[in-house]
Amino acid sequence: MDGVAEPLSDRELLARHVAGDHDAFGEIVRRHRDRLWAVALRTLGDREEAADAVQDAFVSAFRAAHTFRGQAAVTTWLHRITVNACLDRLRRAENRRTSPVSDSDRFEELLEPHESAEVPAERKELHSELVTALGTLPADQRAALVLVDMQGYPVAEAADILGVPMGTVKSRCARGRARLLPLLSHLHSGTMDNAAAAGGRNRTGSASVTPTAAQHKPRSDQGGGGNP
């Protein structure tokens, strides 16, 4: 996973750090910081929050290195600490009942710098909608989707990172995707010819919604689309 053949393994570096080698931990940081940054930024949707979370995580790992027992990969251990730091922050934010508007704004703004000028406007809009929608998901579902769907970790590894059974990761992903669906459906109806049915089923408040479609309007519409 590291991509680069390093002379020392993560475990060896961690052991050296515990033994007092002041350079060892810095090498661990250099190896893993980009991936952890991506996870934190996508989970939290806010640059400063993500920076705080990753910093907290690395400092925690620095101090707790002697507790690492090698039952997991160092990268999984680091991810676990980072994701926990992110979830702590998300839950605190949820407790503060941060307004969904500001959440969405922040999620959108984190996409902007990374989109190149050549990306078509439609695609940009889609990305933006998706990222905004992601920001409305409950923390657990968001974290699962970031790890599995966005970062591409195997479900087993995501389960290790999150400290839950694989089935739980799968159902969090399933529920998260279900909640994203209605939030994206209006883009589908605008950009896809064959989306009439899906759009009809999920688009709310549209004149084309049939009674049948309204009847099985997904539950997630109420929770996802219109936060109070």
Partner: protein, 304 residues
Amino acid sequence: MNSEQNFVGTDEQHPEVEEISALTEGVLPQDRTDEVRAHLFGCELCADVRDSLEEIRGLLGRLPGPPQMPADVAGRIDAALAAETLLAATSPTPGEPVERRPASTPQRRAHAAGGPARSARSGPGRGQGGGSRRRRSPAVLLALTCALVVLGFSAFFISALTSGDSGSDMGAKADRATAPVHGYTDANLEPTVRKLLTSGQDDSSAKYHRENGETSERSPLVRPSKNPVGPSLPGCVLKATGRPSEQPLATDQGVYRGKQVDVVVLPDRSDSRRVNVFLVDSSCANASPSGTGTVLLQRTVPRS
């Protein structure tokens, strides 16, 4: 009520989107799995939902992500960790394993790590609570301060931290137990030594000191400008260099790879622009003061 889409039966409800999603993940209960799968087979509408869910999954995977950690964030983390390293090295009993330090110096750690550094595990009473955004500015400033300190002024930073603890005259060279120590690494050896050498030639230490609001006339921070040599070292350390009769350009005390070391800087005999640096295990002062210490690291580095 019947539309053309309802051909599976007027009484049959379409499954929830969540159920269709759970089916694709294989986490739907078996009996329900059979029902929903049968429904999907005959219902174009719900099959579309399933396809859309797959599409969302694909879209998430193709989202352009942040390519790498921005330099300012990476620098901030490096600074926080460098502060951790330095603080670990200033433990009252240098040389003991790093991991035992945090418990003994909680306040200093919290200060230097910029506040937000806490255990990532959630737990009651951690009390960060709200307002992290408001607290961020001082934290960032502190982190930047740490970065500056690490980059060039580590000696003085450590002195400032430890002076509050000892409350004694930090100029007392004989008091080896409480003397400020530097964390020496292979990477920072050169700049740290350069700092030792230049501290006697300009006023930067005192200036930096004032800028950080820690001004104290008695402070050891001013001392190096008057005495570039540094603490006097036991004979066993000087002997370890093989050149005990020479006057060191500078000396220092620090920690290297978890061991307390005395640092001796001697002029390089073949190149006046370079100096020889010796990191000598300082335990010989107690074990056999008249013997010869062990050199843990010897390097030749440019003077400037």
